[in-house]
């Protein structure tokens, strides 16, 4: 009995979360420019900052 309820709850929660993520992803894609969403640059600041301890030595 309780297992049936838990099963249903599991399905409903899953659908809710999945639906929300899809909705939010689509909404974000519409609201923001694609160029802006994909502007991130690989690597950490430490590597790129010549004054930081980890940097390209010559």
């Amino acid at each position: 009995m309780i297992v049936d309820i838990l099963e249903w709850a599991a399905w409903i929660i899953s659908a809710g979360l999945g639906g929300w993520m899809l909705f939010d992803a689509l909404k974000t894609g519409r609201e923001y420019d694609e160029e802006f969403l994909t502007t991130s640059v690989e690597g950490t600041d430490e590597l790129f900052d010549p004054h930081a301890s980890v940097g390209g030595a010559r």
Binding site: A25, T38, E42, T44
Partner: protein, 487 residues
């Protein structure tokens, strides 16, 4: 580079303001060493709660113990090599980014896929075990109807994907807590079985009485056991994937990874010890949840409940970390156009690679339900093997990766955060043990091995013929390094 410097302070909660024209997005830099520990150990620790014991089925109790040692050496080499290269190439792609800089684009594409499959298949195995456990526990609690495992598999993956979608800080903070509880559960079990006094509750006489018990299949069995010996540590190298999200990668990654490996070594030793002393090897070799079964054997209900909770938390922590790492690898490939650029997007509010997270959800669910769908629980071994083999192919890449990293940028030409000692030795050892484990996999899962390699071969052909044309050549070399020697 101005994009990086002009980035606004990142707080995971409040919404980011609408995009000013020239501002760039990046992942949140919020993680510290404890999150790295939670990520690394969280992914792996489930291996003590399930999976490692298949090594017992392959080579007996001693086979599993020897495998733990030999594979431990393999992972020591992996950690040494990764520490050196990652302290210089700290990026969300981890080994994928390393491959791009040392071997070349096609290898990088393959390494990216290795990472994604390693973690996604592990995630599928986690969800599968969790649902199995839900059934077992409901049975132990007196419910004898059938439990719909699909519902709990899908629920687990959805909840964790949602968590990952909403931000990395909460995701890995939770991972730290639940991993800590799961580890404590193993320690409590050790005391609960009076492991400190091996002759009181544990029985090793069955193990030592004759050769047939400790090494039932001879030394070839030990070889075969190596494959599942990987499970004691598999995934610890995933800490690299969080490099771009650390407040200080140079501090957090080595600290989190090293304390992580120490934790795992302790957990592996305790696990083998209590399980080998409690369960007959014929059963242990096929058990889905060996530590939980060991707790049941003690007859102490509270211990059984604790280990059930520990097992569930470990599977959740692992799946959670896997979603994190697989999505980072997928995202990194999207960022370089190795995969559709669409996947290289970061959520402007949560600062997570949201599309990569969503895309991998159905893949994980499909492979998690497969053993249930076919009503063959032992297919879990096949799913796990997909994960192990992908990891293994990645470790085999680390050998030429290390040699070339030292040859193209000799010591002194590049500032390394860490330089590992005995240079060619760890790389050579890693190559040899990786080849041994590959052979072990051939013994137990030859068809799966060929299938997986064929998959990677087809994917590689696809990449070369149809995909590489979208990749900017020079730009993918992102590290601020001098020209590689000899090129």
């Amino acid at each position: 580079m101005t994009e990086i410097e002009s980035r606004p302070p990142q707080v995971p909660g409040p919404p980011a303001p609408p995009a000013p024209p020239r501002e760039g997005l990046s992942l949140s830099k919020v993680l510290g060493p404890i999150h790295i520990w939670g990520l690394g150990v969280g992914i792996v620790l489930v291996g003590e709660f399930m999976g490692w014991n298949f090594a017992v089925g392959k080579g007996g109790m001693f086979g599993a113990l020897i495998a733990a040692w030999v594979v431990g050496v393999l992972y020591t080499c992996v950690a040494m090599i990764d520490s050196e290269v990652t302290s210089t190439v700290a990026a969300a792609g981890g080994q994928y980014t390393q491959a791009k800089h040392t071997i070349g684009p096609l290898m990088a594409f393959n390494v990216g896929l290795f990472l994604v499959l390693e973690y996604t298949m592990l995630e599928a195995a986690d969800a599968n075990v969790m649902s199995y456990l839900a059934t077992t526990i409901s049975g132990q609690l007196g419910y004898h109807g059938s439990v719909n495992q699909y519902a709990f598999i899908v629920l687990a993956i959805m909840v964790l994907a949602f968590l990952n979608y909403r931000g990395v800080l909460a995701t890995l903070s939770i991972n730290f807590i639940i991993t800590g509880i799961a580890f404590l559960a193993i320690v409590v079990l050790f005391f609960g079985t009076q492991g400190f006094d091996p002759t009181s509750q544990l029985h090793f006489s069955g193990l030592t009485s004759s050769e047939s018990n400790g090494l039932p299949y001879g030394w070839l069995g030990v070889f075969a056991a190596l494959q599942f010996g990987m499970w004691y540590y598999l995934g610890i190298e995933g800490t690299c994937q969080a490099a771009e999200e650390c407040r200080s990668a140079a501090r957090s990654i080595p600290l989190g990874t090293m304390t992580g490996i120490i934790t795992l070594l302790i957990a592996a030793a305790l696990t083998w010890f209590v399980c080998a002393g409690t369960l007959p090897w014929q059963y242990l070799g096929v058990s889905i949840t060996p530590l939980f079964d060991t707790a049941l054997m003690t007859g102490t209900k509270s211990l059984a409940i604790l280990l059930a909770i520990g097992t569930i938390l470990a599977t959740l922590a692992s799946a959670n970390g896997c979603i994190n790492d697989a999505s980072r690898a997928w995202f990194s490939m999207g960022r370089d156009n190795y995969l559709p650029a669409w996947f290289g997007a970061i959520h402007p509010r949560y600062r997570t690679p949201f599309r990569a997270i969503i895309f991998l959800v159905p893949v994980a669910i499909a492979f998690a339900v497969l053993p249930v769908l076919l009503n063959k629980p032992e297919l879990l071994g096949t799913i796990i093997t997909f994960s192990i083999l992908s990891a293994l192919l990645m470790y085999s890449f680390m050998v030429p990766n290390m040699f070339r990293f030292r040859r193209l940028w000799p010591i002194g030409t590049l500032h390394r955060g860490y330089t590992h000692p005995f240079h060619p030795l760890p790389a050579i050892t890693l190559g040899l043990i990786a080849a041994m484990v590959l052979f072990a996999t051939f013994l137990g899962y030859g068809t799966v091995l060929v299938t997986l390699v064929v998959f990677y071969l087809l994917a590689s052909v696809w990449f070369v013929v149809f995909r590489y044309r979208y990749v900017a050549r020079g730009k993918q070399f992102t590290m601020p390094w001098p020209r590689p020697k000899g090129y």
